[in-house]
């Protein structure tokens, strides 16, 4: 019981995830700045931002539904933290692996997006509602290619469990090459999931002010910021576990490897953030459905065929 609580609250749960997400937020911001030839933030800036927000007054709009308005950010953060428990960090197995944990992690990762929609909806503000509707619209666009691209390697491995998948690719590393298109799609859709340029449509600052978060301030905004940061780490860790399953014997080395893998993915995400302009929502949807979805479908077909013919 006490151990479980330790797992959930301290390591690898809430506190550890919070700390590591601040580190990776710093890395992301610093890289973004350096790509733009700026100095960028100091190392403590993400922590300072969170502390500043935590001490600020929380303003809840009169029109808003108070209970839901305050509850939604907590649900979002809790879902992200829960998802992290099933992602492998220091070995090829996660903390509590079970048969179809990949599906569960994906479901947990969908909850924050739904929370963004609800947050926008309960704010009863025009900009927040437009942002919420956009978040939901965007969800339907990137979620399908993301799921298909993550499930394709699982189909090839013949299991829905993350540990099973890593174990399979550890034995047959050659099949990793087959999944490169799925990897690219995952990275692109992850950008949509994390609501970053070029898919930062739900909180496009110049169009709809803060989007979903327009009415949020103080502690509740800090929770949302932490959700977004930790979501980035969880998604990067999940992609790393499935597409780059490189593990060694030592737990410490594995942990360092984990950091390196997440760093590489964050680097790619930062580079994408710096090199594109924001899509318009119609362009984003047609891009996801006309380009990403067919490619991921083809990937699934290829994986099924390979599984059916070669691995029989």
């Amino acid at each position: 019981m006490a151990l479980d609580l330790f797992y959930i609250v301290i390591f690898p749960g809430f506190l550890f995830l919070g700390a590591i997400s601040l580190v990776f937020e710093y890395i992301d911001r610093k890289l973004y700045a350096r790509l733009q030839n700026r100095i960028g933030p100091r190392w403590y800036q993400p922590l300072a931002d969170i502390i500043k927000l935590l001490t600020k007054e929380t303003i809840i709009p009169k029109e808003a539904d108070r209970r839901f308005f305050a509850a939604v950010p907590m649900v979002a953060l809790a879902a992200t933290t829960a998802a992290f428990l099933y992602v492998p960090i220091w070995s090829s197995r996660s903390l509590m692996p079970f048969a179809s944990d990949l599906i569960v992690v994906l479901y947990f990762l969908t909850i924050p997006t739904l929370c963004f929609f609800l947050a926008g909806w309960f704010s009863s503000s025009l900009f927040a509602q437009i942002g919420g509707v956009r978040a939901l619209t965007q969800l339907f666009a990137y979620e399908v290619p993301l799921y298909m691209a993550l499930l394709a390697p699982a189909l090839l491995a013949g299991t829905w469990s993350i540990s099973g998948i890593t174990a399979f690719y550890h034995q047959h590393p050659i099949y990793l090459l087959l999944n490169i298109p799925a990897f690219c799609i995952c990275i692109i859709s992850a950008q949509g999931k994390l609501e970053r340029v070029p898919f930062d449509i739900p909180d496009a600052e110049t169009e709809i002010v803060g989007g979903t978060f327009t009415e949020y301030s103080g502690r509740l905004l800090a929770l949302f910021k932490m959700t977004l940061n930790s979501e980035m780490v969880v998604v990067a860790a999940l992609i790393a576990a499935i597409f780059i399953p490189v593990f060694v014997q030592s737990a410490i080395l594995n942990f360092l490897l984990f950091l390196v893998k997440v760093f590489v993915i964050v680097f790619v995400l930062a580079l994408m953030r710096a090199s594109f302009a924001r899509f318009r929502i119609d362009q984003m949807i047609s891009f996801c459905w006309k380009v990403l979805a067919p490619i991921s479908l083809a990937q699934i077909l290829v994986d099924i065929i390979v599984r059916g013919i070669i691995l029989k």
Partner: protein, 401 residues
């Protein structure tokens, strides 16, 4: 589908100045729009009537930070014409030089703003980084980055030394290289193209119908440029092209601005090569004979017009300013209708709006009287200290510096 009314402004992250657009949205599309401007009205035209001609140079220079030289040049042209003085050639060349440098800085600024509006922050950072080159040159020449204070009645205040001319040549070389890079890489980025092309359409007929000016008009295929059509100063001696483009959309306006940058570099090189020797100013009397004069100047945003009526005293009877943005404002609502909400910021930005210019004016009342209504610094600080104390924190003893 139900329609909702979204207010864009007076305060909004996409807008650099207070202005307001009421958008009637049908889903993501704009069904109708209304342009509300006038938030920057500062009473400058009235204030100009109670100041001397020389003081007005500085007053009108502060109509707008970006096109400050345009306004002061346009104004001193009217006064010099009324006084009947012949401005030395060297002064005219230096005026044109600052004017072209200002055009470069304004277009660079616009390119950055456009990047910001379409969520391409890298373009914003890069364009503004390169804008620093021209800002440094302007600071070296005039002393300030904006509000140069270069014009005075009858000439210019500061000279261009040969060493400065060399530095300008070097900077223009760098800028040219960067601008060519932008026209190659930024205009070749697919997401930028997707966001800019086909947005904010303004056909040639509409552009003429709404009396638009500047890059907006030229991007609709009408080659109208005061520098060529009704030249003032030394522009007849210079060889340059009037850039037009027939995209008729925001992409076209971007192309026009980038190409105009290249033309400006050409003009600056010619000015530096032709720069004659001679005095910088001639004496202009304090009292200007009665008369009226209208002058036009091609500001970075379009045609700037100043009308001055003198009555024989040392103060003008009427100064009228028509900034380019006012001419372009009438077309905004037309360009927004039927577009996406996401395109509204870039369409508004594409006319390079400057509502300080448009609305003008200075409140002539005492500077201290405004404090009664607003919270001053001390009481704001007291309020925040109280609020934090309630939360169990005491910041009031922390010194401000």
């Amino acid at each position: 589908m139900s329609k909702i009314m979204v207010p864009l402004g007076p305060q909004h992250p996409a807008l650099e100045e207070p202005e307001s657009f009421n958008l009637l949205l049908e889903g993501e599309r704009v069904a109708a729009s209304q342009v509300c401007i006038g938030y920057n009205h500062r009473g400058m035209e009235k204030a100009a009537e109670s100041r001397t001609y020389l003081q007005n140079v500085y007053l009108l220079e502060r109509i707008c930070g970006i096109c400050s030289h345009s306004h002061s040049t346009c104004y001193v042209q009217t006064v010099e014409d009324l006084a009947g003085v012949e401005v030395p050639q060297r002064a005219l060349y230096i005026r044109a030089l600052i004017g072209e440098l200002e055009r470069i800085h304004s277009h660079m600024l616009w390119l950055g703003i456009a990047g910001h509006e379409i969520g391409f922050m890298t373009l914003f950072m890069y364009a503004w980084k390169d804008r620093e080159i021209v800002m440094d040159i302007l600071e070296m020449l005039t002393g300030n980055r904006i509000n140069y204070g270069m014009n005075t009645l009858g000439g210019v205040r500061r000279d261009v030394t040969p060493e400065m001319a060399d530095k300008i040549r070097e900077a223009v070389g760098q800028l040219q290289e960067r601008t060519e890079y932008y026209s190659r890489v930024i205009l070749g980025e697919e997401t930028v193209y997707l966001r800019l092309s086909g947005v904010g359409k303004l056909s040639k007929a509409d552009a003429l119908r709404f009396d638009t000016t500047g890059p907006v008009l030229r991007a609709s295929g009408v080659g109208r440029d005061v520098r060529r059509d009704d030249p003032n100063g030394i522009y007849p001696n210079l060889d340059f092209q009037v850039i037009t483009d027939d995209h008729e959309d925001v992409y076209g306006r971007t192309v026009v601005r980038v190409k105009e940058l290249l033309e400006s570099y050409k003009i600056i090189r010619q000015i530096l090569d032709q720069l004659p020797d001679g005095p910088l100013t001639v004496k202009v009397p304090n009292r200007i004979p009665a008369g009226e004069c209208i002058s036009r100047y091609e500001a970075p945003r379009g045609e700037d017009i100043h009308y001055t009526r003198s009555n024989g005293t040392d103060k003008p009877d009427r100064v009228k300013v028509r900034a380019p943005t006012l001419a372009n404002s009438a077309a905004i609502a037309h360009m927004l209708d039927g577009g996406y909400l996401a395109d509204v910021p870039i369409v508004i930005a594409a006319i390079d709006p400057c509502f300080s210019c448009t609305d003008r004016m200075v409140r002539v009342t005492d500077a201290n009287s405004g404090q009664a209504q607003s919270m001053d610094w001390e009481s704001l600080r007291r309020y925040s200290a109280q609020w934090y104390r309630k939360q169990g924190m005491d910041f009031s003893r922390i010194p401000l510096r």
